[in-house]
C-alpha cells in the first residue's frame, strides 16, 4: 500500500505531517518511509538520524569509442538536449551536463560505437529508525549539489524503498507540481495534500489537486497552520475536486519545540491536541484502506 504526502508549497509542513504519521503507522504495520524530496531531503533531520548505506544514483552517459565511430553524424542529429556536439568532421563530443541519459544515441549508432557509460548524479540512503520502541526504515534520495535532473533520483530512491517488503510505503514528495512530484506520486493509492490557509497555499493546493485528478489518485486534504487565514476557498476546492478535508492542524508552539528537540510531536508530547489530530488522521486512513 503506497501512501504519498504532498504539499504544493515549500514550508507548508508536509514533512512534519509525514514523519508523525509514519511513526503512528509503524506502531501497527511494517513501514518504509521514502523521502523523495531529492533536492533537499529533511525527514532524517526531523527524525534525528544520520543517513546510512549510501548508494550512488547513476544515469547513463554515452562513452564514444572513437575507433568504431564512422562519423555518420546520426548521434548528434538525434540528440534533443544538445549533449552531443559534432565537429566539422563528424566526430562526436559529449557534454555531460546536458545529457539526460535517454540512450537514443546508443540505440541509433550503426556501428555500436557508443557505449553505456554512467555518471553519478546523487545518492540514495537506507537508514533504520528506532524511536521509543517503534521501528521502521527510512529511504532518502539526494541530488548532488548543482544537479538539476530530478526524475532519475526520485525513481532510484523510490525503487530502493519499494524493493523493501513492507505493508505500508509512505512517500514524502517534494514541493511543487513539477515532474519531480509527479514521478514521486506515480502509483500511489492515496495522496494526502497538505496545505495552509493562505493565498499561496490555496494556489498550490489547486495545482496538486489538478495533478492527482489527472493521475486518478484519491486525494485527501490536511490543512496545516489552521487559523492563520480564511479557508472558504480551500473548502470550495475540496468540493470541486471531491477531495475531503480530513484534518486541521492548528499552528502550535509544541510543533516548533519538537523541531528543536529533534523528536516528532507524537513521541515528544503524546497527549497534546496535535498528537491527537495525527492519531485521527491515521485512524481515518486505516478506515479508507480497509474499505477498499
Amino acid at each position: 500500500m503506497i501512501i504519498s504526502v504532498s504539499g504544493g508549497k515549500g514550508g507548508t509542513g508536509k514533512s512534519t505531517v509525514t514523519v508523525n504519521i509514519a511513526i503512528l503507522l509503524a506502531q501497527k504495520y511494517s513501514l518504509v518511509l521514502a523521502d523523495l524530496d531529492v533536492e533537499d531531503p529533511n525527514d532524517h533531520i526531523l527524525l534525528s538520524v544520520k543517513p546510512e548505506n549510501r548508494e550512488p544514483i547513476n544515469i547513463m552517459l554515452p562513452f564514444v569509442d572513437y575507433k568504431k565511430c564512422i562519423k555518420c553524424r546520426a548521434c548528434g542529429n538525434v540528440c534533443d538536449t544538445g549533449a552531443m556536439l559534432l565537429s566539422p568532421e563528424g566526430i562526436p563530443y559529449v557534454i555531460p551536463r546536458l545529457c539526460s541519459g535517454c540512450r537514443t544515441c546508443y540505440y541509433v549508432c550503426p556501428t555500436k560505437a557508443i557505449e553505456e557509460g554512467k555518471r553519478t548524479i546523487g545518492y540514495t540512503y537506507l537508514t533504520n529508525v528506532d524511536m521509543d520502541g517503534i521501528s521502521f526504515k527510512l529511504v532518502s534520495g539526494k541530488l548532488i549539489e548543482g544537479e538539476e535532473h530530478t526524475p532519475p533520483a526520485v525513481i532510484a530512491a523510490k525503487e530502493r524503498a519499494l524493493n523493501i517488503d513492507a505493508e505500508i510505503h509512505l512517500i514524502d514528495t517534494s514541493a511543487g507540481t513539477s515532474n519531480t512530484v509527479a514521478t514521486a506520486l506515480d502509483n500511489s493509492k492515496i495522496v494526502l495534500a497538505v496545505t495552509e490557509p493562505t493565498p499561496l497555499g490555496l494556489h498550490d493546493l489547486e495545482l496538486i489537486l489538478k495533478l492527482t485528478s489527472l493521475m486518478k489518485i484519491k486525494t485527501f486534504i490536511v490543512i496545516n497552520r489552521a487559523g492563520i487565514g480564511p479557508e472558504d476557498d480551500h473548502v470550495k476546492l475540496s468540493r470541486q475536486y471531491r477531495s475531503e478535508i480530513i484534518a486541521r492542524i492548528p499552528y502550535s508552539r509544541d510543533v516548533v519545540e519538537s523541531y528543536i528537540k529533534g523528536k516528532p510531536i507524537v513521541l515528544y508530547k503524546k497527549d497534546s491536541k496535535i498528537s491527537q489530530i495525527f492519531y485521527d488522521i491515521v485512524n481515518y486512513l486505516e478506515e479508507v484502506v480497509n474499505d477498499d
Binding site: 540528440c79 534533443d80 544538445g82 549533449a83 556536439l85 546536458l98
Partner: protein
Amino acid sequence: MVNEMKVAFATEEKNGLDSIVSTKFGRAAYFVIVELDNDKKIKDNYIIVNPGGEARSGAAIKAVQKLLEEKVAVVVAGAFGPNALVALDEMNIKHIVLSGVKVSEALGQITDKL
C-alpha cells in the same frame, strides 16, 4: 583566399546589415552571416534561421552546430552562456561580446579583432 572569412551576428530581426545585434546567442532568432574578403570588406551577406531558437535545452549547441555547417570563423552577440563558450572554444570559433548596434556598425567596431 587565405584571409577570407565569415562572421556571424546574432539578431532578432531580418533586416540584413541593418539588423540590431542581439543580446542573446543560443536562442537568437537569426544569424546574419557576412562574408569578408582579404581586405575585410563585405563580399556578401545572408541570413539564416538559428535552430537553437526553438530548442528546449542546449540551444547554444544547436546554434554552434549550425555555425560550423556555415563555416563561420567569428560570432558576435551580447552574451554567451556556459554551453555556448565550451562549444565555441572546442570548435575554434572566436566569439566577440557586443550588442545593441546594427550589424554594419558592429562590423566596423570589431574589424581590428578579426
